[in-house]
């Protein structure tokens, strides 16, 4: 009896906490679905939903923050962010919900574009315009698209690496999770730009699953086998490259090798500024958000009669030459403390 009472109290308390927590998170409007559920398209405000892959992932949350900021400058559009928690199933059901809730426009940061094409095409045919942002396999003609080509991201770093590495260089390669489009495309760029027409040797390449600790562990083991014959670490993202650097630094050979990554976020900016990593490429979430909001607005107001537009935003190479600019920028937008 007593336990039941205590339990009831506890549940009530948890619910209240849950409620307040929910409110708080919709205040800074990065998560939560409740903020704009009731006002529908009959008013002057268009309801737009953004479905990111995973709000705990650095890039997705940055893009969500930039989109939120940009949307605040439009009076006639309102943005709701609905997290997919890195699960395709969740993303698909959120998509379903958004359509049935009468959202006027849906911006999708897809987890698996190829798997989502048919569904997206179906919803567009039923009258909800949609946009693929950051990742797109161009499987739906009528969907708007704002991406930084993952192949280009690989290319700019590979081209820079080509100028620094000797033709007979030995490299090790760190890959993202198995089957990941970004990793595969970036790797393909390296193959075509750097490896194909040079005498470089890929000593080994392994899956590091985007994780810093995996990059570190693999590098520790590689240093055992290949020692300082490794000239460069080619990583498909920054976290693994920085992990590899940490391992090399501890083995005392950090300064004898070059470390190339992709992503260009705060961690890489700090690392390049400190002379650790060599170069990375950035897909700029701010530009992406601005372009996305512009297209979204043009479609909703009827300015764009076609109903979609496909743009590719340029990628930026970050090296020691221009890194300070990004450190400043990331400090200003809060991605770096201090």
């Amino acid at each position: 009896m007593k336990t039941k009472k205590v339990l009831a109290m506890l549940m009530a308390v948890t619910m209240v906490i849950g409620l307040t927590a929910g409110c708080r998170s919709s205040d800074n409007s990065t998560t939560g679905t409740q903020s704009s559920a009731e006002s529908s398209s009959d008013g002057n405000t268009f309801k737009v939903a953004f479905l990111p892959t995973d709000m705990s992932a650095t890039f997705a949350s940055w893009l969500a923050a930039e989109l939120t900021t940009v949307f605040e400058t439009y009076d006639d559009m309102e943005l709701t962010v609905i997290d997919s928690k890195n699960e395709l199933e969740t993303q698909l059901s959120s998509l379903e919900t958004c359509v049935s809730q009468g959202y006027d426009y849906i911006i999708l940061l897809p987890l698996e574009p190829a798997a989502e094409d048919d569904i997206v095409a179906g919803y567009i045919a039923d009258g909800t315009p949609m946009m693929m942002i950051n990742l797109d396999d161009f499987g739906v003609d009528e969907a708007a698209s704002v991406i930084a080509n993952p192949y280009d991201l690989g290319t700019v770093v590979a081209e820079y690496a080509k100028t620094l590495l000797p033709d007979d260089a030995n490299v090790v390669v760190l890959l993202g999770p198995s089957g990941n489009t970004d990793s595969i495309e970036r790797r393909r760029a390296y193959e075509e730009v750097l490896f194909a027409d040079s005498g470089m040797t890929v000593l080994d390449e392994q899956l590091g699953d985007w994780e810093k600790s995996k990059g570190m562990e693999l590098m520790e083991n590689w240093l055992q086998v290949y020692g300082d014959s490794i000239d460069a670490v080619i990583s498909m993202n920054d976290a693994m490259a920085i992990g590899a650097y940490e391992a090399a630094k501890e083995a005392g050979v950090g300064d004898d090798m070059l470390f190339f990554g992709v992503d260009g976020l705060a961690d890489a900016a700090v690392s390049i500024a400190a002379g650790e990593m060599t170069a990375t490429a950035l897909q700029d979430a701010q530009v992406m958000a601005e372009e996305g909001a512009r297209i979204c607005h043009e479609v909703l107001t009827g300015e764009n009669t076609e109903g979609f537009e496909k743009v590719q935003i340029p990628v930026t190479l970050i090296t020691e030459e221009n890194v300070q600019e990004f450190v400043t920028r990331y400090t200003e937008n809060g991605m770096l403390s201090k």
């Binding site: 949350s61 940055w62 570190m216 562990e217 520790e220 083991n221 055992q224 961690d267 809060g334 403390s337």
Partner: protein
């Protein structure tokens, strides 16, 4: 109350030594001081998690929140260090968070009799959510001297991660073997009703066990972030299952009541050596997954077979315990 399966410990040592001999033949980079140190460094964090998991499994429960809790408390400790610049304060703050989450887990499991599997599974998202809410999904960089928790060397030679692991090994061993609390854990895991009848305060002990587990996870988290030289909450994910693997290879019974700190340590080393040799040999990533899975099954099989031959009596005893439940 608890027959110590000593043979089991030796069979694990034999498996490990056997593996190491094979590895030495396969690669001449294997048996070097640096490489062996690397292996110890690489297993240290998961081993600390496994000690926590081991204690919980011994008392018949499971703690799935360990990985995310490590990620959360480690990252919050980084935040604290950046804010105050004090390593001891950051460390204590991390420990406090670990104990807090452990206490919550324990409260629901021990006093409200909820299944630990569900409670700790739910606690994963609570932990991850709270750190992400604070950081806005961003990682914490430029953690300065906090990296000493994972990158410093004791006396200039022994990596601090190994020191932490050995320290936790000793603590776990003493707790499990020489304290009342430890003996009660075995008793509760072996037979909860009997333990209750014998006057053991089952709820209290279980609660304490979850708090200890939380503290261990927090230590693992801080070492992890130190080693990574950044506060990355998501890096903790998956450690709970790796910890279970190490614990079970180490001879901890999934039904509770049996398991040792050294067994867990050896289990963890077996996995560490396996990962290491496959990377030294440059085995294909996908092949690695398959080989690893089968070797883990064989290691447990070899262990069980050795145990069957030598300690029939004990197995029958534990089987009759099961029936009583």
């Amino acid at each position: 109350m608890r027959a110590k399966p000593d043979m089991r410990k030796y069979s694990l040592v034999l498996i490990l030594v056997g593996m190491m001999i094979v590895c030495t033949i396969l690669s001449n980079n294997f048996l070097t001081v640096t490489n062996l140190t690397n292996i110890l460094k690489q297993v240290s964090i998961v081993t600390i998690c496994a000690f926590a998991q081991g204690m919980i499994i011994v008392c018949g429960e499971i703690d799935l929140s360990i990985g995310y809790l490590a990620g959360m408390s480690g990252s919050f400790a980084c935040v604290m260090f950046i804010a105050t610049g004090s390593l001891p304060l950051a460390f204590c703050f991390g420990l406090f968070l670990g104990a807090l989450v452990g206490a919550l887990n324990g409260l629901f499991v021990a006093y409200f009799k909820l299944p630990s599997f569900i409670v700790t599974l739910a606690m994963q998202t609570v932990c991850f959510g709270s750190i992400c809410l604070y950081t806005g999904g961003q990682n914490i960089y430029q953690i300065g001297a906090f990296k000493n928790f994972g990158q410093a060397n004791l006396f200039g030679v022994i990596p601090i991660t190994i020191v932490f692991m050995v320290l936790m090994l000793i603590i776990t061993h003493i707790v499990l073997r020489y304290t009342k609390f430890g003996r009660y854990l075995y008793a509760i895991g072996g037979n909860k009703e009997a333990a209750n009848a014998a006057g053991i305060q089952v709820c209290k002990i279980k609660w304490a066990a979850f708090i200890v587990s939380g503290l261990f996870a927090a230590v693992a988290g801080m070492v992890m972030m130190g080693r990574l030289n950044a506060g990355i909450p998501s890096e903790g994910a998956g450690y709970e299952t790796d910890a279970i693997t190490a614990t079970v290879i180490g001879g901890t019974s999934f039904s509770g009541g049996a398991g040792t700190a050294f067994g867990t340590f050896l289990g963890s080393l077996i996995i560490g050596v396996l990962n290491n040799i496959m990377n030294l040999l440059g085995v294909d990533s996908y092949m690695q997954m398959i080989i690893k899975g089968f070797i883990i099954i064989f290691a447990v099989l070899a262990d069980v077979l050795t145990k069957n031959r030598k300690t029939t009596v004990r197995i029958m005893a534990s089987a009759s315990d099961e029936k009583k439940k």
